[in-house]
């Protein structure tokens, strides 16, 4: 260590008077950390590759199956705007929750894994600020994953089959610009259950302190709820299962718009997400940072 003179230590008075960093600062660095990690891109790849693969496959195939039980599958080559809807149908069930869980489940536990929790919690930020920034970063990631996937699916569909009107679930034809708006609104509505998955991921990440356990636990819960919904005799609880809310956006693609499933999913998801976040917050605030 060289003999470069260190500046004189700050006086107590000065240190107390000046303001510390804000949640926004911590949040910006959470995003930078995400940008620097491979897993971030793995999640994005999961939700982008399927639409690209699907469109390429449909293009090289000679004959198209015009039937199918889904109205958007049936008109896939008639309008490029059917592609993002069909992709959301596929991805909303598993891939997007997986991408959201991949980052949410890691966001606190990774600090345990690296032993860096003690490093950041001995600076001038409170635990609440760190937690808030992490939740915002997990939300940001899930949101970007959804819209990135939608944008790629839309672009690939439109390039292949044109920017044309589509028929919705109720058979009504909507113009191309309106359909585009509906595609992005549907993805926005789908964020309600997806961010709930992220909230559960954050809770498991905080509680287990282990990335793998948190990611697997979150996805395991989604699968568990899917299975629960299939059990005969349990139909009564189906409307309250988180996984049932993954279809909440279907109401937007009907004429007239069916707001009931959207409103229902909003409060059902709140019942999952808010207690999960509150529990995670309390755990994070009170936990001992005894490792690392």
């Amino acid at each position: 260590m060289s003999s470069v003179a260190a500046s004189p230590p700050a006086t107590a008075a000065r240190a107390v008077r000046t303001r510390g960093p804000s949640v926004a600062t911590v949040y910006r660095w959470e995003l930078r950390k995400l940008i620097s990690q491979k897993r971030t891109y793995l999640g994005f790849a999961l939700v982008v590759i399927l639409p690209i693969f699907f469109v390429v496959f449909q293009n090289v195939r000679q004959s198209h199956d015009r039937g199918g039980d889904n109205i958007f599958a049936a008109q896939i080559t008639q309008s490029g705007l059917a592609t993002p809807v069909l992709m959301l149908l596929f991805l909303s069930v598993f891939m997007l929750p997986l991408a959201a869980a991949l980052v949410a489940g890691d966001i606190v536990a990774a600090e345990d894994g690296n032993g860096t929790l003690k490093t950041i919690l001995t600076r001038s930020v409170n635990r609440g600020q760190v937690f808030g920034a992490k939740v915002l970063a997990a939300i940001t990631y899930a949101t970007i994953a959804v819209f990135l996937s939608a944008a790629v699916a839309t672009a690939a569909g439109v390039v292949s089959w044109g920017f044309k009107s589509v028929r919705t679930f109720s058979g009504t034809i909507v113009s191309a610009p309106e359909a585009l708006l509906l595609v992005f609104a549907s993805n926005g509505i789908y964020l309600i259950p997806l961010l709930t998955v992220a909230a559960i991921g954050v809770l498991l990440s905080t509680a287990t302190r282990n990335s793998a356990a948190a990611v697997v636990g979150t996805i395991g819960l989604v699968i568990f709820l899917f299975i629960l919904a299939q059990i005969p005799g349990l139909e009564g609880i189906r409307p309250y299962l988180l996984t049932e809310q993954f279809e909440n956006w279907h109401g937007l693609l009907r004429t007239p718009t069916d707001w009931a499933p959207i409103a229902h999913s909003a409060w059902v998801c709140a019942l999952y997400a808010l207690p999960a976040l509150f529990a995670a917050y309390l755990i994070f605030l009170r936990r001992d940072v005894a490792g690392g």
């Binding site: 500046s7 000046t18 919690l121």
Partner: protein, 330 residues
């Protein structure tokens, strides 16, 4: 509220229990402004646990610790204003470069810490490797980065947990020099260490903990004086002198070696021995008082009676009785 006159560290009745392990057992500490305070103890004594409580990383089971009058449990990050340091090996984001790690921490510090990054990298001589990812750093380089990250905060109180661990000899020497210089500039340093010569060189006050309890707290010179009534004697007939020393009341631990004999005694017993030697016709070549080294005292304090490294709850007697063992019985 913080209080300008409040001491940098003041712990009262600090207890930390992990299930059946009593890691810290009613520890009181008083680190005063300007101290270079040594925090010593065998493995598992509770040093790191105490420092974690001081930094607000873990919640005390009982008692409290205040930094400049502020309790981290109540004041959160505010309690760490003017305080920096790390416990155990400093940890960083392996996928970020050294410089990016410091930029991140400076952002979490505010107060213009980012403007000091180049300076602190220079101080720890890490500037040439600052652009490399920390995942590829050696242990000693991470240790240096830990020091750099602490200096970013321009602390008045620096808490270091075995900072020299894993440093090469030059690195250790540089670390000692750096601590010395920071102390000369007015920084208070709380230094946990296993390097007793380093502590002896750097520290003016020490706390020695064993099995979660403080067995000595006070100035290093007092400690050495208390334990230090040792003498070295060379005579014309060391074998005869050893017999006489062993017969003499008030003389303990008399042992012969290549350099004559060493023993512990109070002054009256030494006078009596010199007369006895004269009567026996044994000539005294040299008779000199010898201060005990910190190492001697450390072992005497932490290895007497209860075994070091045992379950902390095995200690039954209060710490005071350990201190008494140092004081020669009259």
């Amino acid at each position: 509220m913080s209080d300008a006159a409040a001491p940098p560290v003041r712990a009262r009745g600090l207890v930390k229990r992990y299930k059946e392990v009593l890691a810290v057992d009613h520890i009181d500490l008083n680190v005063c402004a300007g101290d270079v305070y040594g925090f010593l103890g065998p493995n598992g004594a509770g040093k790191t646990t105490t420092l974690r409580m001081a930094l607000g990383l873990i919640t005390p089971t009982e008692g409290s610790v205040e930094l400049f009058g502020r309790d981290p449990m109540r004041r959160g990050a505010r309690a760490l204003d003017g305080v920096a340091g790390f416990v155990e090996a400093p940890r960083f984001y392996p996928y970020l470069t050294g410089r990016k790690n410091l930029e991140l921490l400076a952002a979490l510090d505010g107060h213009g810490a980012a403007t000091r990054i180049d300076e602190v990298l220079g101080i720890v001589e890490l500037a040439p490797r600052a652009g490399h990812r920390v995942g590829g750093y050696s242990h000693g380089m991470r240790q240096r980065l830990g020091i750099a990250s602490a200096l970013l905060r321009q602390p008045q109180l620096l808490i270091l947990d075995e900072p020299a661990t894993g440093l090469d000899p030059a690195g250790m020497r540089d670390m000692r020099r750096l601590i010395r210089r920071l102390a000369d500039e007015g920084m208070t340093v709380l230094l946990s260490s296993h390097q007793l010569p380093e502590v002896q060189e750097l520290c003016d006050r020490v706390a020695i903990v064993d099995s979660g309890r403080v067995v000595y707290e006070g100035s290093l010179s007092d400690l050495r004086r208390q334990g230090g009534a040792g003498y070295r004697l060379r005579t014309t007939d060391d074998a005869r002198a050893l017999d006489l020393a062993r017969e003499q009341q008030g003389i303990d631990h008399a042992l012969a070696d290549d350099n004559g004999l060493g023993f512990q005694a109070d002054e009256r017993a030494v006078a009596a021995l010199s007369l006895a030697l004269g009567r026996a016709g044994v000539g005294i070549l040299t008779l000199a008082p010898e201060l005990a080294t910190l190492e001697d005292l450390f072992f005497r304090l932490t290895e007497d009676g209860d075994g070091a490294g045992q379950a902390p709850s095995a200690v039954d007697e209060p710490g005071a009785s350990d201190v008494e063992r140092l004081v020669p019985t009259r």
